[in-house]
């Protein structure tokens, strides 16, 4: 086994070395695709160390192709790191993909019920619980709708309900709202923060939209590109019903965007 490294080495603010210190612990993770030793295999992630505390909302920000999805897949257990360890003490996290990934052969309600069933909920309880979850994302009437009959925003909301149905302690979200128009996205931001503040969910939210990251996260982590490393992180001290057009959100976004530009420019010089 790899030597157990304590989290003390990172530059982050002091995390108490107490009992459930992290909901997700990403420890010196490397990832490259292709066979090890192959000259074509390029490192995608390089020495990523990042913790998500229980109940924390962390936004992961980075340019396209910097390895955000790769990292989420690793955390979700869909792929294995080349080196380093990832721990999710609370059990299998729920993952919301960039595409809604709903099953088209099931209705919206049945999609949610399937997650409940796989979680082991008895048949009688499933129906009511699915209704509750759809209500939670304000889609109470959509139980019998087919996936293709829903709009993009409604699909993302059903996908959110399905992810919540897994009752995981950790929710991973991979640019879930990237394809939506600004108004719909606004509405979903509002719902997500509401659900998050009402539960003890830990969220790791991937985006390449700086404003979205600042609107949602308690912490914003910027990844550099090629290879992906943690470049910098910010603690967002603003109180939570925020709005994307708030001046404070805009100010911090400008600062982060400047940093992101710098990261991208750095590549142009080589």
């Amino acid at each position: 086994m790899a030597p157990a490294l304590t989290t003390g080495g990172s530059a982050r603010g002091a995390v108490e070395d107490g009992a459930p210190a992290a909901a997700v612990r990403i420890d010196h993770v490397h990832k490259s695709f292709g066979r090890p030793g192959d000259r074509r295999s390029v490192p995608v992630l390089d020495d990523i160390t990042l913790d998500v505390r229980p109940g924390e909302f962390v936004c992961l920000l980075g340019a396209s192709g910097c390895g955000k999805s790769t990292l989420l897949n690793l955390v979700a257990g869909l792929d294995r790191p080349t080196a380093g360890t990832i721990e999710v003490p609370g059990g299998r996290p729920a993952l919301m993909f960039q595409e809604h990934a709903l099953f088209p052969w099931l209705t919206a309600g049945r999609n949610v019920e399937l997650a409940l069933r796989l979680r082991g909920l008895p048949r009688e309880a499933r129906r009511a619980e699915a209704e509750r979850l759809l209500d939670l994302v304000r889609l109470g009437g959509a139980h019998r709708k087919r996936v293709h009959e829903l709009s993009g925003g409604m699909r993302q909301r059903v996908a959110l309900a399905r992810a919540l149905a897994q009752n995981s302690r950790v929710l991973l979200m991979d640019e879930p709202f990237a394809a939506l128009d600004a108004i719909t996205r606004d509405v979903l931001h509002h719902e997500l923060t509401r659900i998050w503040s009402e539960t003890s969910l830990s969220v790791l939210f991937v985006t390449h939209n700086v404003r979205e990251a600042v609107r949602l996260g308690q912490r914003v982590v910027l990844l550099s590109s090629r290879p992906g490393r943690v470049a910098r992180e910010w603690t967002v001290g603003l109180p939570q019903p925020r709005r994307i057009e708030d001046a404070a959100v805009a100010d911090l976004s400008v600062e982060i965007t400047e940093e992101l530009r710098g990261e991208i420019r750095r590549h142009g010089r080589h």
Binding site: A76, G77, L78, R92, P93, A94, L95, F97, E99, A101, F103, P104, W105, L106, L114, A115, R117, L118, R119, R138, R146, V147, H148, E149, L150, S151, G152, G153, M154, R162, Q166, I183, T184, D186, V187, H190, P241, R243
Partner: protein, 298 residues
């Protein structure tokens, strides 16, 4: 307050968003409209009827023009008389049923064998490498080629007929399932895995339903192959003890030089093949595709 849309006060943000959401959903909702019955008649029934009438007209024209001898190309009415004769004898339904029951029974057996076989090929790399190419190769082998072998092995019996059907239909059904499974978007499998659908549960809840369209296409083709194989077998291996099916009827008409009977046999075989497809497989396929939003409501 009338000005909420232009100046959103922080206190009403919640109400604002709820209203927005309802508005968005109303805009998004799909509106479906049923096609009126007259339209269905016009677009679905009229074209095939026109085509059939056109063929009959050309046929009649050729007969009237005396293009060829009467015993080679009989008048359409002669075929009609043969049909009427069979009906009045009370033998028509019996002939058709003998073949259809054989075909369907053989198809069901092919289904029972082809499905697990397809699953095995799709899921096991070893089995796929071993018999995958043979299975797809068998699809291009005309099943009539099996008839002589089946007759030598099993004699001119019902078993020989079923053997030929199986050899024709099993590869189609198995291959349909294999390509259905191969074409399942990996995203669904990954989504299933994050929800804990692995192993047998993954196969049952995600893989198989996702592969259903390909599987049904395979079934459709499997039926076509069953029917084709059976007719070949009945034509070649006809014997009085087997009971009179459509293939034997056709063969008997040939030995009697009864051209109207031959044409009637061909038309009946064609008709049964089309009818089973229209009654069973096409609706099944349409339902599955439409429920997934894969077929535009035409």
């Amino acid at each position: 307050m009338a000005g909420t849309e232009t100046t959103p006060a922080p206190g009403t943000a919640e109400g604002d968003l709820a209203g927005l959401e309802a508005g968005l959903d109303a805009l998004d909702a799909v509106q479906e409209r049923r096609t009126p019955f007259g339209q269905v008649l016009l677009h679905k029934v009229l074209p095939p009827v026109t085509a059939v009438l056109l063929v009959l007209a050309v046929w009649k024209l050729l007969v009237v023009a005396g293009v060829t001898a009467d015993y080679k190309l009989p008048d359409p009415s002669a075929v009609w008389h043969s049909l009427r004769g069979l009906w009045l004898d009370g033998t028509l339904l019996g002939i058709v049923w003998t073949s259809v029951s054989r075909g369907l029974l053989g198809f069901l057996a092919a289904l029972a064998i082809g499905t697990p076989l397809g699953l095995l090929v799709a899921r096991s790399a070893f089995v796929r490498a071993a018999i995958g190419p043979i299975l797809s190769g068998l699809q291009s082998l005309p099943s009539v080629a099996w008839v002589p072998a089946a007759v030598i092995w099993l004699g001119i019996t019902d078993s020989a007929m079923y053997a030929v059907i199986l050899l024709g239909a099993v590869p189609s059904i198995a291959n349909g399932l294999v390509s259905g499974i191969d074409q399942v978007p990996p995203l669904y499998l990954r989504a299933g895995r994050t929800m804990g659908a692995t192993g047998a549960r993954g196969a049952w809840h995600v893989l198989l339903p996702a592969a259903l369209p390909g599987y049904i296409a395979g079934l459709k083709q499997g039926w076509a192959f069953s029917w084709r194989s059976l007719m070949a077998a009945e034509l070649i291996a006809s014997s009085p003890d087997l009971g009179l099916g459509l293939g034997q009827y056709l063969e008997n008409a040939r030995t009697d030089s009864d051209m109207p009977g031959v044409l009637l046999g061909i038309l009946l075989i064609l008709f049964v093949g089309i009818a089973i497809d229209l009654i069973v497989f096409s609706p099944l396929e349409r339902r599955v595709l439409r429920s997934r939003g894969l077929a535009a409501a035409r």
